[in-house]
């Protein structure tokens, strides 16, 4: 027999159960009572940056992530939204030479910066060496994580060339080298659920070898 107490959410119960149990919808009436009247309009801010070499100027809701600015406002949909909170790497782009998760940063924070997306690395007719290598080694299956993997891979080789150490670099005073272990460590922020990892490492190794 059901007793009301048994199913009443207590503050402690929520904490024990994990905040996730109430994260999406307010269960507690106090929250509803505290809701303010919604503002009448959405403020926007102008932002200018270079995307794949071209100057772009946007007037954006300040909440727009760099990822959504690219996908929804510039229609550069090569950059993918896999999780929208920095857990999967599908949205990886290169900003001023460094790879970042474009979902974890607001577009308006990048005024004046230089952004390279998968579309900027190469096109089907003029593919970047890394894109070519992914095709040759079948370093993808469904293709959804692929642009992020490729942007990450290009930046990883630059990081190693620049001497940036990783968690698995044994000797922090020596220049890191392109080994499978270094690549696996550095690429681990890019999830591929199809499981093309073994082929992706072969593709990156191939490109690194060709450049060396």
């Amino acid at each position: 027999m059901q007793t009301p107490e048994e199913y009443e959410l207590s503050r402690r119960g929520v904490l024990v159960g994990g905040a996730a149990s109430v994260a999406t919808v307010a269960l507690v009436p106090a929250v509803a009572a505290g809701a303010a009247t919604a503002p009448a309009a959405t403020p926007t801010t102008k932002v200018s940056f270079k995307v794949n070499g071209a100057d772009r100027e946007l007037d954006l809701d300040t909440r727009v992530s760099l990822l959504d600015a690219l996908r929804e406002h510039l229609h550069l949909t090569g950059t993918k939204k896999g999780c929208d909170h920095g857990q999967c790497g599908a949205c990886t782009v290169i900003v001023d030479g460094r790879r970042i998760n474009s979902c974890l940063t607001l577009a308006v924070m990048h005024d004046g910066e230089n952004i390279t997306t998968i579309e900027g690395l190469g096109t089907p007719d003029r593919m970047h060496a890394m894109q070519d290598a992914f095709v040759e080694h079948d370093g993808y299956q469904c293709g959804y994580c692929t642009p992020g993997q490729i942007c990450s891979a290009v930046a990883v080789l630059d990081e190693i060339r620049a001497g940036v150490p990783s968690h698995v670099t044994a000797d922090l005073t020596a220049a890191p080298t392109v080994t499978a272990a270094e690549l696996r460590e550095r690429m681990s922020g890019n999830i591929c659920r199809c499981g093309a990892y073994s082929n992706i490492i072969d593709a990156i190794t191939g490109v690194a070898g060709a450049k060396a």
Binding site: V25, L27, E119, Q141, G143, I191, Y197, S198
Partner: protein
Amino acid sequence: MKFDTPATTNPIDQMKVVGKPTNRIEGPLKTTGTATYAYEHHDVAANQAYGYVVGAAIAKGRIASMNLADAQAAPGVIAIVTADNAGKLDKGNFNTAKLLGGPAIDHYHQAIALVVAESFEQARAAASLVRVEYSRSKGSYDLAAALDTAITPPTVFGTAADTSVGDFATAFAATPVQLDARYTTPDHTHAMMEPHASIAAWDGDRLTLWTSNQMIAWSVGDMAKTLGIAKENIRLVSPYIGGGFGGKLFVRTDAVLAALGARAAGRPVKVALPRPLMINNTTHRPATIQRIRIGAAADGKITAIGHESWSGDLPGGGPETAVAQTRLLYAGANRMTAMRLAVLDLPEGNAMRAPGEAPGLMALEIAMDEMAEKLGMDPVAFRVLNDTQVDPEKPERPFSQRRLNECLQTGAEKFGWSKRGKPGATRDGRWLVGMGVAAAFRNNLNAKSAARVRLDKSGTVTVETDMTDIGTGSYTIIAQTAAEMMGVPLDKVVVRLGDSSFPVSAGSGGQWGANSSTAGVYAACAKLRDAVVQRLGLASDAVFADGKVKAGKRSFALGEAAAGGELVAEDMMEYGDLAEKFQQSTFGAHFVEVGVDAMTGEIRVRRMLAVCAAGRILNPKAARSQVIGAMTMGAGSALMEELAVDKRFGFFVNHDLAGYEVPVHADIPHQDVIFLEESDPTTSPMKAKGVGELGICGVAAAVANAVHNATGVRVRNYPVTLDKLLDKLPDSV
């Protein structure tokens, strides 16, 4: 075309294009970000608005009240869809729970509203202003606690819940060497990289849906049923799918709510499920509790084998068919299997890559390892000894081909299996090293599949079928099939997939897609060849090769047949009873080496090898990728994947990619795959079978067995994590 007698020699046997490790033809699009996925079709419908889904915050009960006032007043909001205003909705044939809940709630994060606004940010913000009060009711969330209430489910996919051959109980009791063990597998989630997403646009009473879906025709049917409109008024378009693994076999809430949102807003609406909503909102692979009993004579011959499995699902759902492979995999005169189903009020259980076999073999192949150990036999030799060339439940029915032993023996040789030591006996620095083996087994399934092929005067062949490519390589193997049949190079073939205006295919699921969809293309191409020969006035034995058609001394460029207008042929491949006369299955053997840190119990996979016998391999490059991908997912289910159930509030706690861990680069070593050369004339003119699900079958057990070999610790409850090893590790020297 009907396939009812085994294939003889046909144009595919030339293997000029088919069977070659061709790069994927859509590769340049996927690697440059120019392949367009469901949420990305900006140019197909103007003025798209954004929908954001609100999920239920209770697992079971009712919505007591819903206050939309704040949300409606928020900037940019155009419409809010709820069960109150959506009109009458039915439930799809393939859905267990409704895709729009309310007032009754069937599971946590069941969709209860869609907020449509001018922008994504506005829709998301407004969605957080929807005020809901719930009345909770008691639910059942704990499989182990619900075992006593589990019932015998009705027949699943033509297979009864229980089977029995001989006298299992008596035979088992009489065997000198026995195993009776209990195993558990947790709930798993597909976690495909592309969230479920749809764009819906209405033109009068006609709906077009750009979506991410594995089974176009099923989903047209279920959209029609759900919305109560004619199938003819729905078009589904799904050219690229960012992974599915069974999670996109069916219409989900993104599709239904996009359609309802677009109707309410009077303009196109796009909806993607937020990642943290996906795991509880959509389907998952249900947890199982399994009991396996094996009895053998002292020489290792199995005389009794029994496998029981318990799983749970929402009312109206089905069991995880974890005993299915045990009916066919090993010999033994006395056998029993049984499945039981409990009602659980967790999100809907359904198919995930190798449903049934994946969790079933996770248990069975540990049991085989344990049994070999009890018998003092090598686990490869024990499996080889208990091979069967006939269906053990119906000995008059042979396997069409079965080379499991060759897979095991080839793998053992290539992997260096003879170097495997006794449990806990092999050290490499701080690592305890072990090797494990498991058999892989999954049935081949054929499904009827149609295609249309067009020939133009340039000699270009265009294939159209509603088949989908979820990363499996459909585009490429279909192009290879058409190229082989029509005697043209690959670059003269255009493949168009995933559109419900094309002929209905087998779709992608159950590893039936490759053989079935290419067989459909074979049938259509055979018809096109007839049309070409007729148009050119050639004898029917004309040869199609090198872009030409030749008969006797006459030779034409293929395109000449279409000089007076495009030639179009459409056909469907259907199947007779060969799959009943012969048990058609795919086989493999997985070999894994792990290192276990002697101090911390940390487990690292060091080497993986799969040997597969799965009929003709249409494209060894894409097929290998299917297998290594499945091995990766198998390593995940062995070592990390587990949906944690909150048994009080009834939901999966770790509902994102940080909490639900899947393998990353650092978890996976170089992987090797060997395909035994094979072609099976009983499956289709392609003589192929599937590999996409075979690849995951047995992997997890091979990892678990390797951990046992490394440490001497037997873990029967997945995932095999270090906490289950720590207090049992050998004393460190």
